[in-house]
Amino acid sequence: MSSINRHAEQRSAEIISNKKIGAYHHMVFAAGDMAAHCRPGNFVAISVGGTGSSMILRRAFAIYRASDRGQYGGTIELVVAPHGQGSRWLTGLEIHDVVNIVGPLGTSFGIPTEPASALLVGGGYGSAPLFGLAEVLKERGCRVDMVLGASSAGKIYAPLEGKRSVNSLTITTEDGGAGVKGRVTQVIPGLIEKHGSEIIYSCGPMAMLAAIEEISSKEGLLHQCAVEEAMACGIGICMTCVLPVKDSSGVIKMTRSCIDGPVMDGSKVIWDSSRKIPEGTWGFNG
């Protein structure tokens, strides 16, 4: 298990773009050298509310894309859903406003050493880190098929430039407003068969990740998922974002999703463990 974020730094970052796209905001930050160290799956933690804010904790966002050189130097792009007070504050900022940012944080998606057929599955704005991943996979000669699901069409995040790096894109919506009516899990088995998928990469709500793992283990595929747990610090010191995960010797331990994740091996995670500690967890005696 990792214990530090080797390339993490804290810095100011100027907003150079902030555009509303469907239910989300696409935001671009001038982040200097930080951008060069970002890998698909990493996240950043941003202070919200301004000086003297009553919101004392940073908000964590998966990195959508990072580019280490351009007109503004290194840039980091995020897809932000203005759900709560903190993310609404952030999306309400204007160009040239400056935020305090810590990153890149956490683990990144593992890239196959040989070209493989990969299925990327995203729920809601969980699609954000998958487009950067798709680009890297394509560069390595992988086949990349993508499935994006959400409750309605406005909550699908699938920008034009992202679509270029995938071989196929399937959309599912629960209300049937776009693509296939239903959930991502309904279309995954068919896509695995059709494209000979060997590895699944996923990002989205925990219930979706759990359902994907069920399919993945049945099919005998590898499954790398980016988990989502409430975090206070994002840097591994507060122990709030834990979930039960089997370590290399099979022992279940409460494991930090910020530093030993967010990207984890789906087969090692003990799913459906919210509000309870699984029997047999290391150090559990209740």
């Binding site: 202070s47 004392i56 530093i259 967890t281 290391w282 150090g283």
Partner: protein, 313 residues
């Protein structure tokens, strides 16, 4: 005479031990030390106060373990940790090798467990003190919170003192959730405490009105952050008024040098930074710099000179 060329004395002292900086981390708010060392040199700190370590490994509580509240947060970690043996084998050697001064925080469920932890620490080279955490609110049975009972508090500290010998400073961490913190402080001082850590979190709760259940899986949690700072100032002021010669490691929502100075003026000899580390990984170095600037502006030549000055006015 302008005193700008006079060296500023930023030391503080607990028991027989001097610490070069008045800013410490708070227990449970610095991980293993490694995670923060990515952002600053641990030698900048007076000491790293470790997470409270138990005799055996602890999984901690189920999730959700955290809820943000106005100017604060609730946590219900439940003392997750590897147990004392693995901690001494892995965490401590790393901290010492990286030039951190270390205060080991210990937590037991029984007096015998505190004794056993103290015995294990007695011979450990390189540690600078012990924090006896008798006030963690995140335990299943509130009856276990020794710091709510003067007799139990005394027994724990006596057993630690007996087992650790006379060398290592003992700092006892108290709970603000008591009717009379001064009487608890008196008991632990007479039982052999060299210093007091004030304050631990306050027991709190938040309810998700959509799910219609407590936000935390453990239902209740410890409230920390700027929201509790006035409670810390009050507790430190009261205890310092009664026991001027016992140094206090003050904590509770310190986010800036100004906040640190407020606690020092109330009677703290040094400051621990906890929740602020979560929002700002370099909080401790910033707070230290701000504090020393504020003290110099006010013509203090040392941190010690400002301790408890609010009592004199």
């Amino acid at each position: 005479m302008d005193n700008q060329f006079q060296a500023f004395d930023s030391r503080c002292k607990f028991g027989g031990k001097y610490f070069p900086s008045p800013i410490f981390t708070a227990s449970g708010c610095a991980g293993s030390g490694k995670e923060l060392s990515q952002f600053f040199d641990l030698d900048e700190l007076g000491a790293v106060v470790t997470k409270s370590i138990s005799v055996k490994p602890r999984s901690g509580r189920a999730t959700p373990r955290m809820a943000e509240t106005p100017s604060g947060m609730l946590n219900s970690i439940g003392l997750q940790g590897p147990g004392i043996d693995q901690f001494l084998a892995e965490d401590i050697p790393w901290l010492i090798a990286n030039n951190a001064r270390v205060i080991v925080s210990i937590s037991g469920e029984t007096i015998e467990e505190y004794s056993s932890l103290a015995r294990k620490l007695r011979g450990v080279a390189g540690i600078s003190g012990i924090e006896v955490n008798i006030s963690c609110p995140n335990v299943e049975n509130r009856g276990m919170v020794f710091a709510c009972d003067p007799v139990a508090s005394r027994s724990v500290v006596e057993s630690v003192r007996r087992n650790v010998g006379g060398e290592l400073p003992i700092i006892v961490k108290l709970s603000p959730d008591v009717t009379d913190i001064v009487s608890i402080a008196g008991e632990v001082i007479s039982a052999g405490a060299d210093g007091l850590a004030l304050i631990n979190t306050l027991l709190g709760m938040a309810i998700d009105i959509d799910a219609m259940r407590p936000k935390l899986a453990g239902k209740t949690g410890g409230l920390s952050g700027p929201a509790i700072r006035p409670v810390a100032v009050r507790a430190i002021y009261q205890v310092h008024a009664a026991f001027k010669n016992t140094p206090i490691l003050g904590m509770g929502g310190v986010t800036s040098g100004r906040d640190a100075l407020e606690l020092i003026m109330a009677g703290a000899s040094a400051i621990s930074v906890g929740t602020a580390n979560f929002g700002d990984p370099t909080a401790v170095t910033r707070i230290k710099k701000e504090l020393i600037e504020l003290l110099k502006e006010r013509k203090f030549s040392s941190v010690a000179a400002a301790v408890g000055v609010a009592h004199e006015k």
